[in-house]
């Protein structure tokens, strides 16, 4: 993007450009996978180191892991309910952790130091493919949760409390993944853009508040995504008391 002459190497804006990898006749966004492998690697390394020697009296990293587990369990239990949350705890937790490390990885890792031939590295969640993938997984998850728990009685949910709700409930099935994916995508992309534009205009100090705000919204977005996913699953498995 050469429309400003003062383009600094670490503050270049490249939006909507991708590093394409060819897979057969399919195209994938290489930069998304590269950065996602980095953050997944970091997450797995953290988990592996923390859970290496677990004892009844927790020490060191085990405390942090247990705190995380407890936090995720409370989240899942609150949203899904006492009966079914155990089955969905890993899914909700993975969503939360993956989105969280993606968002923070995008903000904290100095990706700009690595030069790609095309596109740039950043938070994997700033790519619409990632967020749509996550949102569709949530849709599949809540359909699966409802159908496996209640069978075809799951579809009673669409006509409760009255059949008038039917069209709205059907529309909801489309708006849920749409809002999930675009909320996450928009927030993370906007954060990266704000920081990039500020760094582009005033490289020193001025972007810092926006960066801190970005860290905050990143964490919040991960929490919102996981909470809503849990909430949708909880709605699907909820038993009406007649």
């Amino acid at each position: 993007m050469g429309f400003l002459p003062l383009a600094l190497p670490f503050a270049e804006l490249e939006v909507g450009q991708h590093l394409y990898w060819q897979l057969g006749n399919l195209k994938i966004h290489g930069q998304v996978f590269l950065s996602s492998w980095v953050v997944i690697g970091a997450l797995l390394a953290f988990v592996l180191v923390g859970s290496r020697k677990m004892e009844r009296d927790p020490r060191g990293m085990q405390n942090l892991l247990e705190f995380l587990w407890d936090y995720i369990r409370d989240l899942a239990r609150e949203q899904i309910g006492e009966k079914a949350y155990r089955d969905w705890l890993p899914f909700i937790g993975t969503l939360f952790l993956f989105i969280f490390v993606c968002n923070w990885g995008g903000a904290l890792v100095p990706w700009k130091l690595i030069h790609l031939p095309e596109g740039e590295l950043g938070a994997p969640t700033a790519d619409i493919n990632t967020t749509v993938a996550l949102a569709l997984l949530v849709s599949l998850a809540y359909f699966y949760a409802g159908l496996s728990r209640k069978g075809f009685r799951y579809f009673e949910y669409y006509v409760e409390p009255t059949p008038i709700m039917l069209p709205f409930k059907i529309i909801e099935d489309f708006t849920k993944p749409l809002s999930l994916s675009f909320r996450l995508f928009g927030n993370i992309l906007a954060d990266e853009l704000v920081v990039a534009v500020l760094a582009f205009l005033v490289p020193l100090l001025v972007p810092l508040p926006a960066m801190f705000l970005g860290l905050f919204t990143s964490a919040i977005q991960a929490l919102i995504f996981a909470t809503l996913a849990g909430n949708y699953i909880g709605e699907a498995v909820h038993e009406e008391h007649h």
Binding site: Y20, S36, V47, P58, Q62, W69, F91, D127, I128, L189
Partner: protein, 153 residues
């Protein structure tokens, strides 16, 4: 600027959906299973084991505390009874010794009275006999005097 927002009409753009989507979904599902095996299951097991351990130890401690309280009450009761028994024993002993003392005193007094009486009676008897003897002696002496006086005349 508007060229950023190409809606997938040509290559590139913000909303460029392609095979990244399903691959990312597969990746996340795989990550879910890996994290379940490495993180959620083991950590959950440790945490729940600890919670179970805490619950059982707490219940055990409560049970032990109840036992201790029961034992304490029991011992307190025993102690009270023992104190009462001791008190009674002491009282009985005191009464016994009092009785013994009184008896001994009574016998001693009676003996003393008896021996004093006997002594007095003996003294009386001896005085009586002494007086009698004296009287006889005096009469004999008187007679002797009278006889001597009369004979001298």
């Amino acid at each position: 600027m508007t060229s950023w927002l190409l809606l997938g009409a040509t290559e590139g753009g913000l909303f460029d959906l392609d095979a990244t989507l399903p691959l990312m979904a597969v990746q996340v599902v795989l990550l879910t299973f890996i994290l379940n095996a490495l993180f959620f299951r083991p950590v959950g097991r440790v945490v729940e084991e600890r919670e179970g351990y805490i619950t059982t130890s707490r219940a055990e401690a409560k049970q032990k505390l109840a036992q201790v309280e029961r034992l304490e009450a029991d011992l307190r009761e025993q102690l009270k009874e023992a104190r009462k028994a001791t008190q009674q024993l002491i009282q009985e002993a005191e009464q016994d010794s009092e009785k013994l003392y009184r008896e001994a005193l009574a016998t001693a007094t009676a003996e003393a009275n008896a021996s004093r009486e006997a002594a007095r009676r003996e003294i009386d008897a001896q005085r009586e006999s002494a007086l009698g003897q004296l009287k006889g002696d005096a009469e004999k002496l008187g007679d002797l005097i009278v006889d001597r006086l009369l004979a001298a005349k």
